[in-house]
Amino acid sequence: MGNMKIKIILPVLIFILSSCDKMEMRGFFTSYENANNRFEQSNEWNNQNGHSEISIPQRTYTINAMGDSHVGGTENLDTFFKNAQDENATAVVMVGDITNGHKEDYDVSSEHLPLIDTLIYFATVGNHDLFFDGWKHFYSIFGSSSYFFVINTPNQSDLFICLDTGGGTLGNIQLDWFKKLLETSRNNYRYCTVFTHNNLFRLRPTASTNSMVEEIQVLLDIFLRHNVNMVVTAHDHKRNTDILGNTNHIIMDALQDVNDKASYLKLSINEENIDYSFVEL
């Protein structure tokens, strides 16, 4: 009887404790680096490279965003980049879980990235990107995961902030940086949009994890106090939208090839507001 128990329990344990292709059980208990470590590296990158400032001649422009491409497959990713190039999007933003964390996934992603002079792209890290010690690969390809960029039209400037929530928390240093950035700079810009991987709200029955509620509370206070217009997230793999105050909260569909309802987000920034639509693939 005892022998039988071992025969049943051992394979189950091995299955649970071993890594599958998309998940790494090690990451469930501890991380290769914590949120503060990653932010310090991101900030070092920011200090060396400065922030991107894009000036365009027209008053309206588009930014396309996607999340959860989970490369391996690259069909939808290629379409996402091609559409943005064909439609002259000002930039694209990849909101985490670009890969499953494996070096091979990063290699494939890197091969499919457009040339930066044909399409400006930005990226922030997701939880899957961090599995299998993935941060070092992310950092070597994309650099910082916590930064801001600015788009200048002839008469206005808009602020876009990318935050690293790949570890389920911003960490205290990144949060402090985010608050100070808004306190010192928000009033210099017309619109402010935040991109980050983890969705903040549970808007449908789902097992995808958002942040600790104390952190969500602090972020909601910041978004309201500093008039953040839009928060674009992914992680939940299924689109959802809601409004709280002056902030549009958007959760994107997963872009991954295996998703029957894959889509990306198109932001149309104009004089009146930021319009958005989902483009299905």
Binding site: A35, G167, T169, N172, N198, R202, M212, V218, G245
Partner: protein, 230 residues
């Protein structure tokens, strides 16, 4: 008064505790003080509490209020309590959070406490902030989908022992309900000074994303308190 209360098989309990800790969003050490009271009459119980922030980055002093109504049931020899609750969390001077829901609790097993329930969370922008930031009333509330609540506590000693040590795995505290995939751990110790007076000390540890995404430290706090059964 006490005589008449006992005469009708009723009981009053008072409780107070202090939380001291820090986390990724607390900007240093926080200290919170909670006062709770409950009144039990036969199988019915009403409990209410208030939370005061003595030191925190929350500009409010009264930061939490909750009320719980419960009734004891027993099906065959399986005893359980059904609790309905409402929680107000005033986490900011601009917004607040409310939760209401139902949960079931049982101490049927001598060394375990099980709780299971569901809650509905709403974030609301208060009227002063609506006016200050020019926000439509229709955009002032965000309601989340239902959420699973749970608490599993394993105790070293039986429930009625004079002292005990337990370890909880839960997403629920008096004024905080996390998403079900965000469990926290609570190591707790209790000691009965007298038959009606219990001291307790909890250690809470919070790890963001544990068992689910990519675990990162979030915070901890200690809770020291006293329960008095009048």
């Amino acid at each position: 008064m006490l005589t008449s209360v006992k005469g009708i098989n009723a009981q009053i309990k008072l409780q107070s505790y202090i939380d001291i800790g820090e986390n990724n969003v607390s900007e240093g050490v926080f200290i919170k003080n909670v006062y709770r009271s409950s009144y039990q009459y036969q199988k019915y119980n009403v409990e209410a509490g208030m939370q005061f922030d003595l030191q925190s980055n929350n500009p409010n002093t009264l930061t939490g209020f909750d009320i719980i109504g419960s009734r004891e049931f027993s099906i065959k020899d399986f005893p359980f309590d059904v609790k309905g609750f409402f929680i107000l969390n005033r986490f900011s001077d601009l917004l607040y959070e409310t939760n209401w829901g139902v949960r079931i609790e049982t101490r049927k097993l001598g060394h375990f406490l099980f709780e299971l329930g569901t809650n509905f969370k709403t974030y609301t922008i208060n009227s002063a902030a609506r006016e200050e930031y020019n926000i439509n009333k229709s955009d002032s509330k965000l309601r989340e989908n239902f959420n699973l609540m749970y608490m599993i506590t394993a105790y070293l000693k039986p429930h009625n022992n004079d002292w005990n040590v337990g370890l909880s795995f839960t997403n629920v505290d008096y004024y905080i309900i996390n998403q079900s995939t965000n469990p926290v751990f609570n190591l707790q110790m209790t000691y009965k000074l007298k038959s009606n007076l219990t001291l307790y000390l909890d250690t809470w540890y919070k790890q963001a994303g544990i068992f689910n995404i990519n675990a990162n430290y979030f915070g901890y706090f200690f809770r020291g308190g006293i329960k008095w059964e009048i």
